[in-house]
Symmetry: D2
Subunit: 413 residues, 4 copies
Amino acid sequence: MEVFEKWESEIRGYSRAYPTVFASASNARQVDEAGRSYIDFFAGAGVLNFGHNNPRMKRAMIEFLEADGVAHSLDMATTTKRDFIEAFVATVLVPRGMTMRLQFMGPTGTNAVEAALKLARRVTGRREVVAFTHGFHGMTLGALALTGNDAFRRAAGVPLDNVHRLPFETAPGGGLASLEAYRAQLADVSSGLLPPAAFVVETIQAEGGVNVASPEWLHAVQDLAHDVGALFVIDEIQVGCGRTGSYFSFDGMGLDPDVICLAKGIGGYGTPLAMNLNRPELDAQWAPGEHTGTFRGQGLSFVAGRQALTYFDDDELMTQVRAKGDVIRNALEDLAAGIDGAVVRGRGMIQGLDVVDGARAKAVAAASFERGLLVGPCGSGGRVLKAIPPLTIGDDDLAEGLEILAEAVRRTS
Amino acid sequence: MEVFEKWESEIRGYSRAYPTVFASASNARQVDEAGRSYIDFFAGAGVLNFGHNNPRMKRAMIEFLEADGVAHSLDMATTTKRDFIEAFVATVLVPRGMTMRLQFMGPTGTNAVEAALKLARRVTGRREVVAFTHGFHGMTLGALALTGNDAFRRAAGVPLDNVHRLPFETAPGGGLASLEAYRAQLADVSSGLLPPAAFVVETIQAEGGVNVASPEWLHAVQDLAHDVGALFVIDEIQVGCGRTGSYFSFDGMGLDPDVICLAKGIGGYGTPLAMNLNRPELDAQWAPGEHTGTFRGQGLSFVAGRQALTYFDDDELMTQVRAKGDVIRNALEDLAAGIDGAVVRGRGMIQGLDVVDGARAKAVAAASFERGLLVGPCGSGGRVLKAIPPLTIGDDDLAEGLEILAEAVRRTS
Amino acid sequence: MEVFEKWESEIRGYSRAYPTVFASASNARQVDEAGRSYIDFFAGAGVLNFGHNNPRMKRAMIEFLEADGVAHSLDMATTTKRDFIEAFVATVLVPRGMTMRLQFMGPTGTNAVEAALKLARRVTGRREVVAFTHGFHGMTLGALALTGNDAFRRAAGVPLDNVHRLPFETAPGGGLASLEAYRAQLADVSSGLLPPAAFVVETIQAEGGVNVASPEWLHAVQDLAHDVGALFVIDEIQVGCGRTGSYFSFDGMGLDPDVICLAKGIGGYGTPLAMNLNRPELDAQWAPGEHTGTFRGQGLSFVAGRQALTYFDDDELMTQVRAKGDVIRNALEDLAAGIDGAVVRGRGMIQGLDVVDGARAKAVAAASFERGLLVGPCGSGGRVLKAIPPLTIGDDDLAEGLEILAEAVRRTS
Amino acid sequence: MEVFEKWESEIRGYSRAYPTVFASASNARQVDEAGRSYIDFFAGAGVLNFGHNNPRMKRAMIEFLEADGVAHSLDMATTTKRDFIEAFVATVLVPRGMTMRLQFMGPTGTNAVEAALKLARRVTGRREVVAFTHGFHGMTLGALALTGNDAFRRAAGVPLDNVHRLPFETAPGGGLASLEAYRAQLADVSSGLLPPAAFVVETIQAEGGVNVASPEWLHAVQDLAHDVGALFVIDEIQVGCGRTGSYFSFDGMGLDPDVICLAKGIGGYGTPLAMNLNRPELDAQWAPGEHTGTFRGQGLSFVAGRQALTYFDDDELMTQVRAKGDVIRNALEDLAAGIDGAVVRGRGMIQGLDVVDGARAKAVAAASFERGLLVGPCGSGGRVLKAIPPLTIGDDDLAEGLEILAEAVRRTS
């Protein structure tokens, strides 16, 4: 660790929480250089839906490398990118009757959100965007303005403007009433409020504490957005790509977003990729090249991401996700029963155990690490333990991980 | 191309300028699916300093994949990351007597700039940052505020504030006088100006038109920054990593920046990586985890980037860069001699032919493409043809590419 | 009127609504140059609480002029200003046990609000100020940011930032619940909200449509402000100085504001004066001279304003105000009974008849003018007829004015 | 003074510099309650061009009061206002062939500037306004953003945006070169600069240190404004109304401003009045009532201001101003000769003695006060003693005042 302590920035975070040097990884396991194996309930912050070093993807990437495929292409057309697009269209869009356009940008989630904001402001000619308390949308200045967390916001060093903040459904003052109050205010010419360009919402606030929005509330947000001439944007970065038991976290809800932001899981192997889906008539308002990004054409990400899509050719993985999600949920609810005020929230394979107290959650995470489990806190004050293992985790590892977590909870009581 | 036209966003740019589908690439060549080979004078917008699919890196990446190295690690410690850090320290920092800290963030240049801005604002407690006309620093809202190009800026849809704009050395009103005027204004309590948090400068404005700053002017910027309590930040994203004939574009100038932003070439293979070098006493002011990024731990990028560093173990490549740079410059100067008002600017293997007229430059690029050369315009109105081939380009390809360019210039006169 | 049409700015408003040239005025009467007399239910937008050309004040002003009193003094000390201060302290502050400091500034209400904002931001080190929908606080950029009316806001031509907008008690989504929701959001570190510097509130929104806040709600605002470390600022500009039946509109409510903004009526004769009352320990944070204003020392305003204070030496006028307020209210309620959805709101001698429909209100005002009554609409879309005659209006004029208004309502049904 | 110390805000400034209580005033004399007479070289910060309690105005005001003229009229038409408008048109506009429209607003200079900014932003659809270092334009948030002085700016407590700052002609980096540099930057689409809505300039920066712009430079500002589609706005608040020896300070320069801001001297008696002159085709873009102000119709100010205009019926006063201006200038130059580095700047009856050192200037002002002269420092650090006596000051008082000043300078050497 010395090298990191001496040369890497003081900003490093996870390497402090998990103080060891990892040497290899496979599916839901990371192994450190001393040979110690850890079960991974963190999955690279929700990236590794298909496990570390997924073998299908690995094979395809090696083949691609050996064939000198175009690894870096900006937004030039490549056969690899075409394969990815065709697979995405066939696997995701066509079955849902969606005709959205695929936009690639700098391959991080925050870049995807920044692009969505630009499009929304362009299309509407408006400045202000509605974001929700506890939302997490990224670290660059545009996306950070939407993010709720105070510590992240203070780091900006400049005012974070052009955002109107509403409470998330489950936050104090949230629910349908606050949406209706906002609607009434917008209808009132003396309210002093600006009409918004977009409503940007997560169906499940992952970093925000695994706060789950109901379909009814999401519909109300969508209706309000459309009634006031704003775009309805779903930030699907952490909970899309199968995490909740279907490709999109909002599948089956009958929602019709204008822009969908994807990143994290879409590149499959942890290889960076970000992509927005834009409603075609809105997308048509982009001028060529006006939002660029050097790394928006990533051959390896397209190759791995194309393999990831094969997991959606049939319902096998999603069925497993729903089943394993139940396993996790039941286990967490057993733990919650023993903790004053604790609750479990989540859907599919994102489940959060809110232990109310941030110090307690931190202690549980530390005790888990000592016992060979990677799990991290999220939410206000870090009071929620978030279980987001790879969707492909084996039943044994899942059971063992939950057992370690239970033990860690017991030890820190 | 149909797939792209039907499903990809209207924002796509390069695939319009280079309307073919590329299937493979090797060093300075890209081959399309019809088997046509193109010489690459664009190098992925300055990323591919070591050529497409560099064999050293390819081999190392395949080995890494086969060994199940940790492909995605957030900012956890991994053996691969340690190897990269150690090599960077040994190859770049130690020989220069530098003690800077390495900070990793979301792996795009714009994320690096956003992180630098946060640090500068944190350290100084100031809001405003000095940027220069024609500068290019990225597309997310914080970095975009520094970027000069009007089309990019208008796409923001919100005011881009907290930036004070000075003319670049070579721009109208530029030079030492404008720096001294600004110094005098800052010294004047009734100037209405805010003291700046940082000066962010490119030594050569690549996107801005291959505008080359002199060491004298850069020193004046640095001195001014330090005299007024601001950070001196060099955005080395496009011209670092050997492009100009030494690792940093400012090597040998005696400059001492507080933050150096790196991206593009540092990942070696076109694999995304971004890294800031922060002066240690400034870096110490970061709180753990307050600027994050899902993809800041990229195993493949560390592996390829570590191989890239081997090119700096001796002076062979850099000697070649200086020699080939002269070849390019001479060829371009021959072309400039035949064009009214044309000039050549650049250093090492970034050379720009300013043909004064954007339409002319666009026509030259199109004619080059038809003849098998990828080259792109940059600068105001796109009037500068920028030659930035891989540093590893063979002499034959270089000569052939320059010949095609010459022919294209002749055809469009 | 020709001179005005030819030479005065197109921005003129009231001279279009009341298209005649006034030559003289006395108490609740204005007489035009054709000799036609109008009853004034508008009182110079709430300035002329003591009538046009109040004889006590007129006599005092003439004496002051003849004695060469200091008419213009910036913030130098003058005997006239001292007389005013002493009278204000004795008449208003001492009986209420208030120890607030008197601050004079540019003699308009908007300047008073701007000064209050500066003090609140200085004292708290915070940027954002809470204002309420339908609030009216002035036309200069700082005060305008607090004002709710969309037409006024759009005229700014720049973003109006640093304000957090809550619904006024009587507005959609208003009431105690919205205050509690905001309190909960402020307590939540991931809400993305900034802690506010101040809550700026009118006890009765005069321009906003005669919306009357309850003492309970005002206490909740005050409590919330103090609990979150913000100042509680009452903008008393239109409804202070006796308008509601006591000197302050909040007398008897047990409120304890940190800053009280006064203007309009305080200068007595329509002579400009603005004054803030600041809690002493907050006031102590001002540095000498840091908020200035050329006309902050107005001898004539001090003289007239000092006479105005004599109306508060006993309870006679205030008793009349309460009685006449009842007369107005009863008359308006009779009118409301005949109009679908109409309601009457107000306290003391500010009473509004909300006729629901802006066009109807405008027609009533026009018909009133034709019949010799000056009355104006306010509120969203101008749907509220606001009756604010001089407090000193004679019973006959009051009765006649109400009769004209009733006739105008009948004629426009 | 006790009353002021106990009850008036800590923000009071002049009453600290001139610690006595004034009881009466006449022309260039103020007399305190102890009977001590002071010669006034300050004239209420440039308001009292026609002396304290000017007898022509006093008589007219008393007559107006006795006749029950309309003292307060918002923007309703009154005979008194018509008289003022007609006189202004006949005396000022017609002789100059000007057709500008008169706009009245809240009667302070800062309100006039705020209105000008709104009009400029409305007409151009642009946000940013050019202001100059050392400029002083007012204390409300829009005007304060234009003001250069750091202490005033810091009191805002919020970012002061939407202003682009250029050096004034006489400031470091100023002159024609900086205007040309800015022109070049605006012509450059990659400069990152916004096209400005207006250039707001004082011909002589009064508060800024009596910095005098040359006609050549003012023409260059005007030309640049018009070439880039911006308004050319002259803030004439302190140096208009005859102060420099002609009605406008720019008379005879051939300038053609789009908006002229007037206040201070225009009301004549120290009675508040502010008025903008707008080019008719720009003025036409105002919507009725969109910039209001309770006190924009001041009967007493119109009466006194109308009398003030009589001073421009012939050239007598202006001839005297030029002559007395020479007297002042000569006297100050004698003083400057004895002070290291001191210079004299000014035109007509605004003359500044820059003694280089703020502490020295403050000491001179204090010593002058002790000897019976009111004079105040201005400029950066308060290093300039500004002599702006009433234009009507008698030769004896002028000579005596200059003698006291000379003595004070000697005593503080």
